[in-house]
C-alpha cells in the first residue's frame, strides 16, 4: 500500500510523520512526474488553498488528481484540502476539484486570533482532539454527504463516497484515529 501526499505547499511533513507511525508507505507529490506510479490513497494537507490550487494547475497535476478522485480513490483532505474538494466556496469565486457536494466558507473563524483547539466527536470513532488554524467550515452539505463532526453548530468534518474532508488538522495532534479511519477505507 502506498499513499500519495500532495506536497506542493503546506504541512505535508506532519502527515508523513503520522503515516510513519502507522508503518504506511507514502510518496510526496510535487510535480507531474510524481504521478506516474500507482497509489492507493491520496492526502491533501493543510496550507494555503490558493497556493496549492494554483500550483496543482500550473504544474499540470490537477487533471490527473481529479481523475483519481473521480475514480473513488480514498482521499483524506485537511483544512486547505477541504477547500480544494468543495463544490462551492461561499466567499471566494475560485473552484478546484468540486468533488464533494458542499459549500465551504474560507477563513470562517476569521484571522489567526480566531484559531483554536478543541475536542469533539469524529463520526462513530469517539471524541478526538481538533486543531483549527484559520480554518474553514462547511456551511451546507448535500444529504448524501455524511456529517462526521460538528463544532459549535458548524460542520467541520464530512465524508462523501471515499473522501474525508476535515476543517481541522488531525496531523497536528498525537491522535491517530483519523488516519487509521482513512487507511481503513483502502
Amino acid at each position: 500500500m502506498a499513499i500519495g501526499i500532495v506536497a506542493v505547499q503546506g504541512a505535508f511533513l506532519e502527515h508523513e510523520k503520522i503515516l510513519d507511525r502507522l508503518g504506511i508507505e507514502y510518496a510526496e507529490l510535487r510535480q507531474k512526474s510524481d504521478l506516474d506510479r500507482e497509489y492507493d490513497g491520496l492526502i491533501l494537507p493543510g496550507g494555503e488553498s490558493t497556493v496549492q490550487g494554483k500550483l496543482l494547475k500550473e504544474l499540470d497535476m490537477f487533471d490527473t488528481l481529479r481523475g483519481w478522485i473521480a475514480a473513488d480513490m480514498p482521499v483524506l483532505a485537511t483544512c486547505a484540502g477541504m477547500i480544494l474538494l468543495a463544490e462551492k466556496l461561499s466567499n471566494d469565486d475560485k473552484e478546484y476539484f468540486r468533488s464533494i457536494p458542499m459549500t465551504v466558507r474560507r477563513n470562517a473563524y476569521g484571522r489567526q486570533v480566531g484559531s483554536f483547539h478543541t475536542a469533539a466527536a469524529f463520526g462513530d470513532k469517539g471524541v478526538i482532539p481538533m486543531t483549527f488554524i484559520r480554518a474553514p467550515f462547511v456551511e451546507s452539505a448535500a444529504p448524501e454527504a455524511e456529517i462526521l463532526s460538528v463544532v459549535d453548530g458548524n460542520i467541520v468534518g464530512v465524508r462523501y463516497k471515499n473522501q474525508i474532508a476535515l476543517a481541522f488538522h488531525p496531523e497536528l495532534d498525537d491522535d491517530l484515529t483519523v488516519h487509521q479511519a482513512f487507511i481503513g477505507m483502502i
Binding site: A7, A11, V51, R106, V113, H117
Partner: protein, 291 residues
C-alpha cells in the same frame, strides 16, 4: 499567552511551510503576490531596499495601509514592528494581524530588550543569525524564526551564512553528551530546556524560514536545499523588472527546489533582477541590530 495559544501560533507557521512570503506596499501589490502564489504577505510602507536608500528612522506602517492590504487578500497578512517596541506590537495585535515580524529592518526602539512576546495572543516571527539568537527569541515567545539576511541588498551571502551557522550549531548540540548540555546552555546564553529540545530533536522547536537577499528562483532553491522551510522575499520581487513573473517563478522554485531542470526553465526570461548591493559596499548592517 497560554501554552495552547503558543501551540496554535506555531501551527500557523507550519501551514506556511514550503511557501513564499512576499513584501508588499499596496493592496494592488498584495493582489499580485496572492495571484502569483504567495502563502502570506508582509505589509509595509516601504520595502527594505527603499528603507535603506531613504535612511532615517523607519517605523511600523500606518494601520490604515495595513488594513487595506488585509481587505485585499484572503491569505495571512504579516506586518513589522520595531525591535523592542511593544506598543507598536499592541497596535498590530489590535488590528488582528496574523503575524508580527519584530524586525531589524526597522530602526530598533530598544537596544537591550526585545518584546516579551509571551504577553501577546498574535504570533511573532523574529530574525536570527545563529542558534543562540534563535533560542533567545523563542524563549521570549517567538513562534517562528527566519534568517537575518541583509534586507534590501539582493545579496544572499548573509542568509546563507546564518542558515549554515544554525545548522552546524544544531548538529553540534545533537552530538553532545547530556552532561555537556548545561555548559552549552551557558555558552549559547539560552535556557537549558531549549538546548535539551534541540539536542533531542535535532531541530528548532519552531519553523525556520530564509529571509534577506533572496532575488532569484536559484536563491530560493539554495536556501531550501540548505534546510529553510520556506522563504521570505522582500525587495527581490517588486524591485525587479517583471514582479509577477519573478514571483511566480520563485514560488515554483520553492516547491521543486531540488529539480535543476525545472529551476533552469523557471530562471529563463525573468527580466531585470533587483540591483544588488554587496555586503562590503554597505554602511549599515541591519543584522547587527538586536542579538
Amino acid at each position: 499567552m497560554t501554552n495552547e495559544r503558543y501551540e496554535l501560533n506555531k501551527n500557523l507557521a507550519q501551514m506556511l511551510k514550503g511557501g513564499v512570503i512576499m513584501d508588499v506596499t499596496t493592496p494592488e501589490q498584495a493582489k499580485i503576490a496572492e495571484a502569483a502564489g504567495a502563502c502570506a504577505v508582509m505589509a509595509l510602507e516601504r520595502i527594505p531596499a527603499d528603507i535603506r536608500a531613504a535612511g532615517g528612522v523607519s517605523r511600523m506602517s500606518d494601520p490604515k495601509m495595513i488594513r487595506g492590504i488585509q481587505e485585499a487578500v484572503s491569505i495571512p497578512v504579516m506586518a513589522k514592528c520595531r525591535i523592542g517596541h511593544f506598543a507598536e506590537a499592541q497596535i498590530l495585535e489590535a488590528i488582528e494581524i496574523d503575524y508580527i515580524d519584530e524586525s531589524e529592518v526597522l530602526s530598533p526602539a530598544d537596544d537591550v530588550y526585545h518584546i516579551d512576546k509571551t504577553k501577546f495572543k498574535v504570533p511573532f516571527v523574529c530574525g536570527a543569525k545563529d542558534l543562540g539568537e534563535a533560542l533567545r527569541r523563542i524563549n521570549e515567545g517567538a513562534a517562528m524564526i527566519r534568517t537575518k539576511g541583509e534586507p534590501g541588498t539582493g545579496d544572499i551571502v548573509q542568509a546563507v551564512r546564518h542558515m549554515r551557522m544554525m545548522n552546524s550549531q544544531i548538529a553540534k548540540l545533537t552530538a553532545l553528551r547530556e552532561d555537556e548540555l548545561f555548559n552549552a546552555a551557558k555558552e549559547l546564553q539560552v535556557p537549558y530546556d531549549l538546548v535539551q529540545y534541540v539536542h533531542e530533536k535535532g531541530r528548532l522547536p519552531v519553523v525556520n524560514f530564509a529571509a534577506g537577499g533572496v532575488a532569484t528562483p536559484a536563491d530560493a532553491a539554495l536556501m531550501m536545499q540548505l534546510g529553510a522551510e520556506g522563504v521570505f522575499v522582500g525587495s527581490g520581487i517588486f524591485k525587479s523588472g517583471n514582479p509577477e513573473k519573478r514571483a511566480n517563478a520563485i514560488v515554483k522554485a520553492v516547491t521543486n527546489y531540488k529539480d535543476a531542470a525545472m529551476l533552469a526553465a523557471l530562471s529563463e526570461d525573468l527580466g531585470e533582477a533587483m540591483v544588488g548591493i554587496n555586503e562590503s559596499e554597505i554602511q549599515l548592517l541591519m543584522a547587527e541590530r538586536g542579538k
